[in-house]
Symmetry: C2
Subunit: 195 residues, 2 copies
């Protein structure tokens, strides 16, 4: 039952998009090829017409997921308080795709560190792109500090969202997110020099 080129391309895209959702919910190891294909409305046999291996899908899903996040972030607010408003939206729990609640660095962070080189490269590129977006929105700061601001703000947010998901007490979970929001949003807080 061969399909047209356009249909084939669409199907492939649909598989990647479905994989992004499945991996978010169950992790790379938790979501099986058959699960993903079924969720995409196909049988597992067709998978290998589109991908060489599950690892290849993981790498593509990771890249796609980071791209979405970067697009949403770079399309968001600009101007004076852009950096601050990015932090707000990154940490907010609504709008999955736009915030770190849908980010592989959070949702499969510990699996990423053990993943294929291609997957780690996709994750690293995504992280760098997020840095770039934040640096651009942080123009008010001196250039040599801007990179550090972005690196620190991002890793702190990723840690906070990760911890807020682990902790089993909703109050502590909220506190973790609120403290990160407050401290990162406070101008000067993350630009202060050592000692």
């Amino acid at each position: 039952v061969k399909k047209s080129k356009a249909e084939t391309a669409e199907t492939r895209k649909r598989i990647v998009e479905t994989a992004v959702r499945e991996f978010r919910q169950k992790g790379f190891q938790g979501a099986g090829v058959a699960d993903i294909m079924k969720a995409a409305g196909l049988t597992h046999g067709a998978f290998y017409r589109h991908f060489d291996s599950k690892d290849q899908l993981i790498a593509e899903a990771c890249a796609a997921s980071m791209d979405t996040l970067v697009d949403n972030a770079s399309g968001a607010a600009e101007g004076e308080n852009a950096f601050l408003s990015d932090i707000e939206s990154f940490i907010s729990s609504e709008n999955r795709d736009g915030c770190l609640g849908g980010c592989p660095l959070v949702l499969v962070g510990s699996e990423l560190a053990r993943s294929d080189p291609e997957t780690r490269q996709a994750a690293t590129r995504g992280f760098r792109s997020l840095m770039d977006v934040m640096v651009k929105k942080n123009l008010c700061r001196s250039t040599d500090r801007a990179d550090g601001d972005a690196v620190f703000a991002l890793s702190a947010m990723i840690g906070a969202v990760t911890m807020s998901r682990i902790v089993d007490d909703p109050e502590l979970s909220t506190l973790i997110l609120e403290e990160a929001k407050r401290r990162l949003a406070a101008p000067g807080s993350h630009a202060s020099a050592r000692r």
Copy 2:
């Protein structure tokens, strides 16, 4: 081949300790029961004489791992710069057990969020204990800020160490850790108020 009570208790302890090491390297899903038992010098069949399920072992290994971390942290430096020196040692890459490089919140962070209630509870308790240790070492600050200081410093460090492990560029990896160290160690940086 029945063993004495003392031997049995020792064996059980050895299994948990071996599990901690295996889970650190391969993750909860990546390390199998048979792997762990073999690494502990036993066959897989004996496992169920000590534990009801793999999930039970995961919960105990998580608790044990956090306990070790808390012990090392609370035994470390005291006095004026205790808070700062904890941050240094948490982020340093030597002394696995004493720093966040050996911490389940980092090494299996994304798996923890999907784990059994017992495991998440162990992780949450560990996080709270680390908070307590840091609050005690941060006496110079006003009490109502100390909790927030600890929550933020911990989640930022966890995010930084997590990201440093994901990223495939050693330079960026180092930058992530250095920025976290610098900014969290800078007094006043994480105590600054909003706006």
